[in-house]
Amino acid sequence: MQPTHRSSRILQPAKLWFVYFSLFLALGLEYIPSGRVPGIPDWVPLVLAIWCVREPLRVGMGVGFVFGLLVDVGQGAAMGQHALAYVVLAYFANAAARRVLWFPLLQQALHMLPLFVLTQVLMVAVRLLAGAEFPGWSYFLSSLSNALLWAPLSILLMLPQYQPVDRDDNRPI
């Protein structure tokens, strides 16, 4: 577990079941029928990117591929559309992991914003090549809300790792 430069504290490694639990939770959020409201965050790539940055050795392109396929099936999108985008996202997030974590959370979000946009651009390109219609520029708003959610969700997903190895009853945190 890598520290951010704000806290030099070494966190516990994330439990693998917790990683997959959070990813499935994100999948559930992704499936909520929200109509065509622009700016609804894409939960799966967000959580995937967080884990790719925090646990680059354990979460990577394979996980991105599998969850991409699950999103494809659930949304009735073209098979491989989300998988392709998430694989590329995981590749770049893994590569950026060593650098990004030295910045505070808000600047991390700035680092991740282009990646989220790239993810969506890939999906648009794939579907436009296949003859679909352009969904409108507001489609890219969800990248922005993803970047805004980066900091709070990072804190939320890191909370379990803050537990000390030896629990001391006098110092609960």
């Binding site: 499936y31 029928p33 109509g35 392109m61 009735g76 999108a77 098979m79 694989v87």
Partner: protein, 291 residues
């Protein structure tokens, strides 16, 4: 091979290089995309994966259902009364038309028997509610609350009170996915009600419709009504589809005919899934000379 006779411990072992893995995954994804979009090979894989996704989807749809139902529940009494009065009036007028229709159908059947023509196929219909827009933002699709268990099949036509809304393109156990006529990849064979000129209607992508493959000198005028021709063997013939709103003959060998859907395609809530109970026999095979 190290010279002390054993392999070094795998401290830095991370499998193939990330770039190599990226290329492998991207290749797999592209193969999947082509197989799905171009050849439609992957429906089996989709069904298999939906075993995993279906429970999650159902769980996710529950809060949305709850919110929708709550807003229905709190609709005011006055609105309901007004709607009720409207419906009574509509039922009266359609009841009268139904009486005449039954008479005409009987007459039609007798005349066909007299002329020794084949019977018209009977039509089956399933009432359904539109649950929500499909989450895929690149296509104009909606999800119905009836699926394979209620007898919905892929390919059936979906109509509302005024005309055709779309076509069932994918069927799940208790839900089905309908591609609206305004989707760019959706087409429907139609004929002009006035004189029977045939053509194919495509979604234009901006919410309108376009009739293609009609010769520039064909007799199609503004205001003509288009109905399904039934030539595809899938749609029931005679369902109202669209109205011609503009004809441009100057551009090409084919006329540019813009149409406007009759049904409230993007806003209707209650729909009927309509299909033939029997499909026409397959076309006779071409002999070698014609091929």
């Amino acid at each position: 091979m190290s010279f002390v006779g054993h392999q070094p411990p795998p401290i830095f072992k991370r499998g193939p290089a990330p770039t190599a893995r990226l290329f492998a995954f991207v290749t797999v994804c592209l193969v999947l995309l082509v197989a799905d979009l171009r050849f439609r090979y992957l429906e089996v894989m989709r069904d298999a994966l939906s075993v995993v996704t279906y429970p999650v989807q159902m769980a996710a749809a529950t809060p949305a259902d709850f919110v929708l139902n709550a807003s229905h529940y709190f609709a005011t009494l006055i609105e309901v009364q007004r709607e009720n009065a409207d419906l009574r009036r509509q039922q009266l007028s359609s009841g009268e038309r139904l009486l005449r229709f039954e008479l005409l159908e009987l007459e039609n059947q007798r005349l066909r028997e007299l002329l020794d023509m084949s019977r018209r196929v009977e039509v089956k219909s399933i009432a359904a509610d539109i649950l929500y827009n499909a989450p895929d933002p690149f296509a104009r699709k909606v999800i119905l609350d009836r699926g394979a268990q209620q007898g919905v099949e892929a390919g059936l036509a979906v109509v509302d009170a005024k005309g055709v809304v779309g076509q069932v393109t994918r069927v799940h156990p208790v839900q089905s996915e309908v591609t609206l006529l305004t989707d760019r990849n959706q087409s429907i064979p139609v004929s002009v009600l006035r004189n029977g000129v045939r053509g194919v209607l495509f979604g234009s992508g901006q919410g309108g419709l376009e009739m293609r493959f009609v010769l520039a000198d064909a007799d199609v005028r503004e205001g003509d009504q288009l109905v399904t021709s039934g030539l595809d063997g899938v749609f029931v013939p005679g369902l109202p589809v669209a109205k011609v709103v503009g004809v441009d003959r100057a551009s090409d060998a084919f006329a540019r005919i813009e149409c406007e859907p009759l049904a409230a395609i993007e806003t209707s809530v209650q729909v009927l899934v309509i299909g033939r109970t029997a499909y026409p026999p397959p076309p006779p095979a071409l002999d070698a000379r014609e091929r």
